[in-house]
């Protein structure tokens, strides 16, 4: 086994380079563990951090008239009076069901396209020789931090001329383009670290570059692809700005973020609607987060430049 595992969180781990193994080592033994005071402090911090989300979660199950008149913390003591009414209302009346489907329609291609195109380019940057390779790669990486805002108006004009505005194509293209610099950056580094001999021998056996890419590079890069996928999916799912610009003329295609933002604008302080609607919009990212936490953390460690 050439990779070692760095314990990062309970039962989860991150694959790291061999040279880091001894560094990670038996850390906790030699450093001793924290005393009760430090433990208490961090537990309090963690609780404080959880309160806002927990409050909204509890409130979303309160009867509408109670949300408006009492604090959510009062509902924690018996008699409990929780209900699914708010959720049923927003799914039926506010189009959150359709918005959930729209979010999926936007996010799945919005994740697959940039990864696929980014992988193609990353392969070329890592393993093919062509003039200007380093310069082009540097420009692509530099685009990582160019504010996407600058693209909105000029691209909107092009899209409007082409009749793309309000169509899924417009947001797919935008999310693909905005996701590409990060995808190329992450994958090129991963691809470049793959063993050269493997590819050399495949080429000697007569395999084309395309075959090497599909049969060797991609299967060996599943960990990097997984990190990238979850990161990109969350990013697209949670996006507001791109949908706001390219889809706002077409409410039928609105994703959940845009729908919730519109509900905020429309109802302002209507918390029975807002609590349930925003929790629905968070449900999938939260489930993904808890089930794929290590990939998420790894993606963040790998691409901290992105933000």
């Amino acid at each position: 086994m050439s990779m070692s595992e760095l314990p990062l969180s309970e039962g989860k781990s991150v694959v790291i380079k061999p040279q880091a193994r001894e560094e990670a080592g038996v850390r906790t033994l030699s450093r001793g563990s924290a005393g009760p005071i430090v433990t208490t402090i961090v537990v309090i911090i963690a609780l404080l951090w959880s309160v806002p989300t927990f409050g909204l979660f509890v409130a979303s199950f309160m009867p509408p008239n109670l949300i408006k008149t009492t604090g959510w913390w009062t509902s924690l003591v018996p008699p409990w009076n929780f209900t699914l009414e708010n959720y049923i209302n927003v799914i039926q009346a506010n189009g959150m069901g359709q918005a959930f489907v729209n979010s999926l329609i936007i996010s799945i291609p919005g994740t697959i396209f940039p990864i696929l195109l980014g992988a193609f380019a990353a392969y070329a940057f890592a393993w093919l020789r062509f003039p200007g390779r380093n310069l082009i790669y540097f420009i692509v990486v530099a685009l990582l931090v160019v504010p996407s805002q600058i693209a909105l108006e000029p691209v909107l004009q092009i899209f409007t001329a082409l009749g793309f505005t309000g169509q899924y194509w417009a947001v797919w293209a935008a999310h693909t383009a905005f996701g590409l610099p990060f995808a190329v950056f992450l994958l090129r580094n991963f691809f470049a670290a793959l063993p050269a001999d493997l590819m050399e021998s495949a080429h000697i056996d007569g395999a084309s570059s395309f075959r090497v890419f599909w049969r060797i590079v991609l299967p060996l890069s599943v960990p990097a692809l997984a990190s990238l996928a979850i990161f990109q999916f969350m990013w697209v799912w949670n996006d507001l700005l791109v949908s706001l610009i390219f889809l706002s003329g077409n409410p039928d295609h609105s994703p959940m973020t845009l729908t919730v933002a519109n509900l905020v604008g429309q109802y302002g302080e209507n918390y029975p609607v807002l609590t349930a609607a925003s929790f629905l919009s968070m449900a999938l990212p939260l489930i993904l987060f808890f089930s794929l936490q290590r990939y998420f953390v790894r993606g963040i460690l790998a691409g901290s430049v992105k933000g």
Binding site: L6, K12, V15, I16, E23, A24, V26, T28, R31, S33, A34, V38, T39, V43, A46, W49, G55, L56, I67, T70, G71, F120, A121, A124, F125, R129, F130, R133, L143, P147, Q149, I150, L152, E153, P154, V155, T176, A177, L186, R188, N189, F190, A192, A193, E200, S209, N238, L240, L241, A261, L274, S281, M282, P285, L286, F289, Q293, F296, L301, V305
Partner: protein, 305 residues
């Protein structure tokens, strides 16, 4: 090294293939170049041209839009707000991230604590906006406060505050939302760097009788400083571009607008193409030096690995 290099991001420079120049490479990178051209290169050129024209793009006005940004009191206020965001937001996310990472390093339930701080990262700005509007709810004095913060204030007999509207502190109310969302990010990265400090160094320092505090300043800080540069620059870039929090919380009203918010309002609400584009160009130009530092640091890390 004891930094981000412990992840697969940092790699050796690519080994050259024995083959000659591959012209087919252009097919591999072609789609990426076209998309980046349409979404980055062309818009940047177009924005520069638009920013030199008047608001309905009918005549060239030179640098007048830029002059306006740096002289108009309302727009100066926008820049001032962005600066406040940059200083307070970066200090708090990185500072708290560092403190919590150090504290949590030797705690048994480390992973649970980290998850709690990290969850907000998975939530959209829109969701976070609703969560915090709910925290900040204001009801008139002497009525039941249903927002947690005002309810706590009433416990200590302080009148309820209009957190997002009172211009004395509403910018801080918004920055708090960002800090809540992004401290977990700083903490996770800094924590990984802390774990990368070799045990031998810590052992040696301990045998030499170094105190905890001395060890922190003499060992921990220098060892993780490359990571800190990456975290700080990432936060600066993020905050320069901050939009969603402001959009959802106040829409830029009540003196809370920032560059990206103002840009959005000028372009899409007032159709002021000249001024809007000038704001976008200013934003990009301000980001460039931060980006340069960030990239240089990342390249250094790559070489070390």
């Amino acid at each position: 090294m004891a930094t981000l290099a412990t992840t697969e991001r940092a790699t050796k420079p690519p080994r050259r293939r024995v083959q000659g120049i591959s012209w087919s490479a252009w097919f591999w990178i072609g789609p990426v170049l076209i998309l980046l051209g349409v979404f980055f290169i062309w818009p940047f050129i177009d924005s520069i041209i638009l920013s030199l024209q008047n608001n309905d793009s009918t005549a060239f006005v030179g640098l007048k839009n830029y002059q306006l940004i740096f002289t108009n009191p309302d727009l100066l206020n926008v820049l001032k707000n962005n600066l406040l965001w940059l200083v307070v937001g970066t200090l708090l996310t990185v500072g708290l991230g560092l403190v919590i990472a150090v504290l949590v390093d030797r705690v048994k339930i480390e992973s649970a604590i980290k998850s709690a701080l990290f969850i907000p990262m998975a939530i959209s700005f829109v969701g976070a906006g609703v969560i915090w509007r709910f925290m900040y709810i204001y009801e008139p004095a002497n009525t039941t406060q249903i927002g947690l913060l005002n309810a706590l204030l009433s416990l200590v007999h302080i009148g309820p505050q209009v957190w997002t509207i009172n211009e004395a502190f509403n910018n801080f109310s918004l920055i708090a939302v960002y800090v809540w969302m992004w401290t977990g990010f700083s903490m996770v990265i800094i924590s990984a760097a802390l774990k990368g400090i070799p045990d031998e160094i810590i052992e040696a320092a301990r045998m030499d009788g170094a105190s905890r505090l001395t060890m922190f300043w003499r060992i921990t800080v220098p060892m993780i400083s490359p990571t800190m540069v990456v975290v700080v620059t990432t936060m600066l870039i993020n905050i320069l571009k901050i939009f969603d929090v402001v959009y959802v919380m106040t829409g830029g009203n009540y003196d809370t607008s920032v560059i990206a918010m103002e840009f959005y309002n000028q372009l899409f609400n007032f159709s002021h193409y000249g001024l809007g584009s000038a704001l976008a160009v200013v934003l990009t130009i301000v980001v460039l030096p931060v980006m340069y530092i960030n990239l240089r640091q990342l390249r250094k890390e790559e070489r070390k690995a």
